[in-house]
Amino acid sequence: MRILREKTETERYFKQQTNNLFTYLPILTDMSKVIKLKKGLDIKLVGEAEKSVIELPIGERYAISPLTFEGVVPKLLVTEGDKVLAGDALFYDKAHPEVMFTSPVSGTVSAVRRGAKRKLLAIEVAADAQQNYKPFKTNLAEATREEVVATLLESGLWATIIQRPYGIIADSKDTPKAIFVSGFDTAPLAPDMNIALKDDLQAVQAGFEALKKLCSNVHLSLKAGEKSILEAIEGVEKHYFAGAHPAGNVGVQIHHIDPVNKGEKVWTVGIQNVAIIGRLFTEGKVNMVKTYAVTGSQVAHPQYVRCLVGSSLCDVLMPARIKPQGGGSTFRLIEGNVLSGVKATANDYVGIYSSQVTVIPEGGELELIGWLAPRFHKLSVSRTYFSWLRPKKTYDLRTVLNGGVRPCVVTGLYEKYLPMDIYPMYLFKAIMAGDIEKMENLGIYEIVEEDVALCEFVDPSKQELQALVRDGINLMIKEM
């Protein structure tokens, strides 16, 4: 059956290719370059965003949360009542004082939210009606690498550059082996970049020019067999990937293009953040506008919302609306996708790394002897359920764990959902044992949380594998 499915996938792929034959010739010429991934899974959910974009006006309040940035220890630069311009620094990283985190809007710092032990949660800025921007130089063509780095650091956009290994903000003193950008997202209900970036093509091109100043070796991955507006981007090395999620994960793409070895560093930037960097160098201002896909079964009108980074989730959800919840049922708000997104509340703010908001029903229904019942309507990759009979069905998944946490018993399953030459179970066990050398040998440098999200999804032992990988990475950072 497995072989059959693969065959149909290939057939579908070639069918798409032939459909594109006349409409899009460049794909044909790049056929030989297509990297086909056989492993993975597309989780089909209810609540895909309609192909319409709503632009939000300037809202009341914006905020940047230091928690968005992995491993950053924030040092505040502003206090409540301070006036800031869009692009003015709000805080910096204690370990890397050159890395600034800036305000997306001009206005007044209205609140510094803190949690337990005075942990900095968010810096809120009440936006001015008329936006004023801190000016930045736009002479990208003549700028040296040092000038580009300095501008990015000062503008707060350096934080968009993520380093592999470890998935943390890049060190501005490094020169990476290469920079990788994924031009598509395969996560459940992920935004279609053709819609999200439809007005940003020039900005994206400018952003790539800026990235090329940092490292001449810039890679852009696109989905094979699909017409992408990013085809028009010039000056980067393009790669084509075919296959299910996580084919769109930049980590998986790096593994197949030019894997990260011990001692090497590569950088990654989200495609929408490339556009923000581009705008910095063409408009001379920090204009953190992004298109978020508002998706999920609990959203009344799933659609795209274009707004500034730091907008409150309340504002972002306003046009799409959450369905009325009846009978004591609740929903879960996720910043990002259902696999690797962050649990949020309506009082939180959309961050710079995400490009999606998902709302799904919270909790489960009472089911008598569920392990015995056929449960025809349930989704599982295992044929102990019946979802294999209806491969095209979309599901309204809830947030239940669907079982108790158990030790690793089933083998050979994780491997099917991680399209890399890595033995995930051995890597996980090395992390559990805290064995640095084994983790290094087994490929910890090549993965971040999102790459193992599918393993976590399918795991019948219900273990928290993404958190485990982050623990392992943090241990590596501490010990190396």
């Binding site: 989780i43 392990w371 295992s382 239940v400 079982g403 108790g404 040998n441």
Partner: protein
């Protein structure tokens, strides 16, 4: 406590007794048992806390339960065969045979489950974990692979030994090195050899005591017809006789993906290859029983004794088998080879399958180590190439 009558009865009962079993309650020392009952009746409604917000519906219970379903044809046939193999069994009708076998097997199933699950609950309580479902399967396998005439106290002792020494001292489900069900059989095999060996081992009042493998070990030939061996109307442990029923269960395990096809297929291939080699090197005019045994057509090895049962239900245990795909092929193949090798050359142990699986259980981590090491070397080579480039 106000009861909510909108809820179904089991839920109401569970809620009623929840305080008794939770910390501070009178029966808090039985908390793991209560929890097991709770998850037995209702799918846990726990929500995801970290990581992926939605999860696949498959869990350990479902996976283990699928093995039980796969065992059903074997169990039902085995029950009938117990009656059929009785001295006067041939005169019984099909239901009389079945009922006779049913009442023979049931006590042993009950004893295994009660003893095994009590120990599991106790360990879960000590470790403050939930009770694992692994014993669901082990507890069903044990009565199927030990002789039907085994006294119940011996079954209880073997089960306790298997659970404590075979599994829990290694750290419980997922950590054990040897297949617990096989440990139970090994325990009886080595500790009470006298009471279960000899010709009339399988049934106290059996029509014919000798199993095909016993005959083969002694004489090098067997009177059992291969059709009977395939269908299963021959003497032997309850679960092992009917290759047909085992293959039905095997088909379900392979289709649902619960068992690895790599292990299962490679065990059969290994048996065929070793049997085939014996066929080739056997002398033209065999003198001894062993030489005669070597001429047994390779495919017949797969039908006799516990070969098929071992290949489908024992070798495929994900915990004790190899954990890498490549390792599964190697370990499975070696199990098949060793099983036939032991059968033919070591007449003291007519059933080579049990020893072959246990031996390869011990070697599986080594095989895996080298498979994983190949991956590590690939990664290191890649790193070197990258530095030189």
């Amino acid at each position: 406590m106000k009861q909510n009558y909108n809820k179904p009865l089991p839920k109401r009962l569970l809620e009623k007794f929840a305080p008794t079993f939770s910390e501070g309650g009178k029966l808090s020392w039985l908390h793991s048992f209560y929890e097991a009952m709770e998850t037995f009746f209702y799918v846990p409604t726990d929500v995801t806390k970290k990581g992926a917000h939605v999860r696949d519906c498959n869990d350990m219970k479902r996976t283990m339960f699928m093995v039980i379903i796969a065992l059903i044809p074997t169990i039902l046939f085995g029950m009938w065969n117990i009656g059929f193999q009785r001295i006067d069994g041939a005169d019984f009708n099909i239901w009389q045979n079945f009922w006779y076998g049913f009442w023979q097997l049931l006590p042993s199933i009950i004893v295994t489950y009660v003893v095994g699950l009590s120990i599991e609950c106790a360990f879960a309580q000590i470790r403050k974990e939930e009770v694992n479902e692994g014993f669901f399967v082990s507890g069903m396998l044990i009565p199927l692979i030990i002789p039907i005439g085994t006294p119940l106290w011996m079954t209880a002792l073997a089960t306790a030994f298997a659970v404590i020494i075979g599994k829990e001292i290694f750290g419980g489900t997922g950590m054990n090195i040897f297949n617990p069900a096989l440990i139970a059989r090994l325990f009886i095999f080595f500790s009470y050899t006298s009471s279960i060996s000899g010709e009339a081992v399988w049934f106290s009042d059996a029509r014919t005591g000798a199993t095909a493998l016993g005959e083969l070990a002694n004489t090098g030939t067997t009177s059992v017809s291969m059709l009977d061996a395939f269908i299963g109307t021959i003497p032997g442990s309850v679960g092992e006789t009917s290759t047909l029923c085992i293959l039905l269960g095997g088909a379900l395990l392979l289709f649902t993906g619960v068992a690895s096809w790599r292990t299962m297929v490679s065990v059969f291939v290994g048996g065929l290859v070793m049997g085939g080699i014996f066929n080739l090197i056997a002398p033209a005019e065999p003198q001894t029983a062993t030489e005669l045994y070597m001429t047994l057509p390779a495919w017949q090895h797969l039908l006799l004794g516990g070969f098929a049962f071992g290949a489908v239900f024992m070798a495929t245990d994900p915990v004790t088998s190899a954990q890498t795909n490549c390792g599964k092929l190697i370990v499975g193949f070696m199990i098949g080879v060793l099983a036939v090798l032991v059968r033919v050359f070591n007449t003291g142990y007519p059933e080579g399958m049990m020893l072959a699986i246990v031996f390869m259980n011990a070697l599986a981590p080594v095989v895996d180590h080298y498979v994983v090491q190949a991956n590590v070397s690939r990664r290191n080579r890649r790193a070197k190439k990258s530095i030189n480039a």
